[in-house]
């Protein structure tokens, strides 16, 4: 059962990812990206990380993908021109990615991980909450500040300064 689900999600994820990099239409690429993200949310469910799955959807699908779509639409002329998306060095890039894949494949195939057969109590939410407000509180706060800064920075960067009507 689970391998079956895993395969479905893998198709979603990897297929989506392949779609992202192969399609000529940027808009489709974004939609494929969403597909891939949804597949990954499924992965997380399979990995007993339900909360993370929800986070994945909220953040990636609900925020980042929407942002990307917005960006694509705001730079609409690019799409209508229908230029080839690939650059001059795409062959080299493909080769690098392929070599990388095969080299890194050595790791999961060869390494003996210290696997554990324990089963978590399932109350991962409580654990997450305790960790965030406990031992990881400082990184947590730092990330909050980072997000705030990114928010403001993005607003300032994207603001059209030539627009006089801005209040």
């Amino acid at each position: 059962m689970e391998p079956f689900v895993f395969f479905i999600f893998s198709i979603l994820t990897l297929g989506g990812a392949l779609g992202v990099v192969t399609t000529k239409n940027l808009y489709y690429a974004a939609l494929f990206l969403i597909m891939s993200f949804s597949g990954m949310a499924g992965y997380f469910v399979l990995l007993d990380a339900g909360f993370l799955a929800a986070v994945q959807i909220v953040v990636y699908v609900g925020a980042i993908a929407v942002l990307i779509l917005f960006a694509i639409m705001l730079s609409r002329k690019v799409m209508t021109r229908n230029e080839p998306l690939l650059n001059r060095q795409w062959g080299l890039g493909l080769a690098t990615a392929a070599i990388f894949f095969f080299v890194m494949l050595a790791v999961p195939l060869n390494v003996k991980w210290p696997l554990s057969n324990e089963v978590s109590s399932g109350n991962e939410l409580v654990q997450l909450g305790l960790a965030f407000l406990g031992s990881y509180v400082i990184p947590f706060e730092v990330v909050s500040i980072l997000l705030l800064v990114a928010l403001i920075g993005a607003i300032i960067l994207a603001r059209d300064t030539s627009d006089v009507e801005v209040e």
Partner: protein
């Protein structure tokens, strides 16, 4: 009675409170300030009487062994230093005298100081002064005593320099502080040594036999430690009680307002030195013929020497000041001969009659000043006896009080001075009888008796000059008796000057005062704690001497006219000039101590900044600058020209060639990054994992 003794810490608190309130709040309101000060000392007086009552009720136990209230004050290593107050018989005796005399002086001053721009400040200072003296008296350890001692030093500085607009006054304040400071430093050193050896400064622990034995047994620099400490402590007393050779500040201290003179000379500051020596007497006496004889010697010298100067002074207060020096010498003689009781007795009586004399003189000065004001005369010095004369008719109350004081001072039977001075001379007399002719007691007796004659002489001179004859100036002619607040304290003091001697009349076996010897009992085997029997011969001799001296002085000066030459000057000639200039001691000190110190200071400053140290620093700096210039040249020619520029050219060339790799294409960079990391991973896998 323990409950009554618990009031002891309160005694100095009241004047302190008065001081604080005046400084922080009441200094705008003159009348309130004065009443605060008087109220403060009045409450102290009442409390003191309660404590005295407690002491008397406590009987021998409290009077001899003392009662203490220590608190932990300062941690020193593992031990904690205890600070505290205590009461024993001696303290109780002092507590009778000090606040009472202070109270009378304060009341007197409230009228005397009227019209002064810093009236409130004056009462703040005197309250602090009283606080210092009362703390000193009730201190149960040497450190607290020393602290109070220094507070008094501060107050004397402030009060002597109270009219600091006058150059002489501000100098006098400084002189008083620095001179006594020298004594204080000696005392401080003695205290340190004592503390180092005994680990305590509390009197009753110091006077334990084993402690005393240890101190007398230990030698330092060839003399017993106890003797060394005693001498250093005595140094403090010399400074404070204006003994030779540190007496120079006291006559100058007359620059302060007259109530201050009374306070310093009668009740508080100078008594502190005597009190200290009396308090520490067991330590002095533990080594026979040790420090004590120096006390006696200094006392004898001072007693005689002070009296001789006294006869040549024209300033009414200066005469009394030298008289004080001389009388303190008497007390030192007594203590130096082991006559604890005699010394303390004289200390008590002297406080009253000297306060009386000072206040009386203040009253006279006030009157003359008033007269001078009346006739619009601003040049007459109101303190100069040569400007007075015939005042008896104008101010009878003061005059009679003054007569009582004079009689007490010169020792007329049966006033207080007679009993107490006689006790001292008898002490010396008896010891002379034992030790033989030309021994120390003999010289002490001789100095005392001659001093008594001189005392009578200058007092006679003073009475004659001030009260008799015709007024020598217009100011004196218009002098006026001051108000009740000034005269009533005089009368009260006169009463005590007349009667206080009866507390220790020698006809009662052993006297009565010895109950109040206090902790000094601890070393009683070396001291005379009981009144000695009445010595008729001594009494007769001193009475004759006193009466003779007095009438001589009185007769000579009774009818002195204005502008007439001083009869004694006619008689003594150059000797009188020497006496008038106080044996040139001040000039001597200026020449051998003060000027060289200032010179040395100037030299040090020059040495520091202009001659040696700073120039060295600057030279080092300049060497640095010069070597920097040389290095700069070297740098420019050799290193820069050959080394650096060559290298730079090399890198310029390589940079030119290699910059072509910067294509500006993000993708290229990314590819480079990816390939490089891949290479690294590959190398890791190949070289390390394999």
């Amino acid at each position: 009675m323990e409950k009554l003794l618990l009031l002891t810490p309160l005694i100095p608190i009241f004047p302190l409170l008065a001081f604080v309130i005046i400084i922080f709040g009441a200094n705008k309101n003159n009348k309130l300030s004065a009443w605060l000060a008087i109220g403060g000392i009045g409450l102290s007086t009442l409390t003191s009487w309660l404590v005295i009552a407690g002491t008397i009720m406590g009987g021998h136990h409290v009077q001899a062994e003392g009662w203490r209230l220590p608190i932990p004050w300062m941690p020193t290593g593992e031990i904690v230093f205890n600070m505290g107050v205590g009461v024993d018989g001696f303290t109780a005796a002092m507590l009778f005298m000090v606040p009472l005399v202070c109270l009378l002086i304060f009341i007197y001053a409230s009228e005397y100081m009227e019209g002064d721009p810093r009236y409130a400040r004056f009462f703040a200072y005197v309250s602090l002064f009283a606080f210092g003296m009362l703390t000193l008296v009730i201190a149960d350890n040497l450190l607290l005593l020393f602290m109070a001692w220094e507070v008094m030093g501060l107050c004397s500085y402030l009060l002597i320099g109270f009219w600091f607009e006058k150059t002489s006054a501000k100098r006098a304040g400084l002189k008083a502080f620095l001179t006594t400071r020298i004594g204080d430093v000696l005392l401080f050193a003695g205290m340190l040594i004592l503390y180092s050896y005994t680990r305590t400064l509390t009197f009753h622990e110091l006077f334990k036999p084993e402690t005393l034995e240890m101190l007398s047994g230990t030698m330092m620099w060839g003399i017993p430690v106890s003797a060394l400490i005693s001498l250093l402590v005595f140094g403090g007393a010399v400074g404070k009680s204006a003994q030779f050779p540190l007496h120079v500040w006291l006559p100058d201290a007359m620059e302060g307002p007259t109530p201050v003179s009374a306070l310093i000379h009668a009740a508080t500051m100078v008594s502190a030195g005597v009190y200290l020596v009396a308090r520490m007497l067991p330590l002095f006496a533990i080594v026979p013929d040790g420090a004590l004889r120096w006390v006696a010697i200094i006392g004898a010298i001072t007693a005689f020497f002070g009296a001789t100067i006294g006869i040549a002074q024209n300033d009414i207060k200066r005469v009394l000041a030298y008289s004080t020096i001389s009388q303190l010498g008497y007390m030192m003689i007594a203590l130096g001969l082991g006559g604890f009781l005699a010394g303390v007795f004289h200390l008590l009586t002297h406080a009253f009659f000297k306060a009386l004399l000072f206040l009386g003189s203040g009253s006279i000065i006030h009157a003359v000043e008033h007269g001078a004001h009346h006739v619009n005369d601003h040049h007459t010095d109101p303190q100069d006896m040569m400007n007075m004369g015939g005042l008896y008719g104008r101010m009878k109350r003061t005059a009679w009080a003054y007569f009582f004081g004079t009689a007490a001072l010169i020792g007329i039977f049966p006033l207080a001075g007679f009993w107490s001075k006689d006790e001292i001379l008898a002490e010396a007399w008896l010891q002379w009888q034992e030790a033989g002719f030309m021994s120390l007691p003999f010289w002490a007796w001789l100095a005392g008796t001659l001093g008594a004659f001189l005392t009578a002489l200058y007092m006679g001179r003073q009475i004659g000059l001030v009260f008799f004859g015709k007024p020598r100036t217009e100011a004196a002619a218009h002098a006026q008796e001051p108000g009740n607040r000034m005269t009533i304290p005089l009368l009260v003091l006169a009463f005590f000057a007349a009667t206080l001697g009866f507390i220790n009349v020698p006809f009662i076996k052993g006297g009565w005062l010895h109950h109040f010897a206090g902790e000094v009992h601890a070393a009683s085997h070396a001291l005379h704690l009981e009144a000695i029997p009445f010595q008729v011969s001594v009494a007769v001799v001193s009475s004759i001497v006193a009466l003779g001296g007095f009438f001589l002085g009185w007769a000579m000066y009774r009818n002195l006219k204005a502008g007439q030459q001083d009869p004694l000057e006619k008689m003594l000639g150059p000797v009188f000039t020497v006496l008038k200039n106080k044996y040139y001691v001040d000039e001597l000190y200026t020449a051998i101590f003060i000027k060289p110190t200032v010179k040395l200071a100037t030299l040090c400053a020059k040495f520091d900044y202009d001659w040696v140290i700073n120039p060295i620093v600057n030279t080092v700096g300049r060497i640095g600058v010069v070597s920097a210039i040389i290095s700069a040249k070297f740098d420019e020619i050799v290193i820069d020209g050959l080394g650096v520029l060559g290298t730079a050219r090399f890198f310029k060339w390589t940079g030119k060639e290699l910059r072509l790799t910067q294509s500006g294409q993000v993708s290229n960079y990314l590819l480079t990054i990816a390939l490089s990391s891949l290479t690294l991973v590959g190398m890791y896998l190949f070289f390390i994992r394999m």
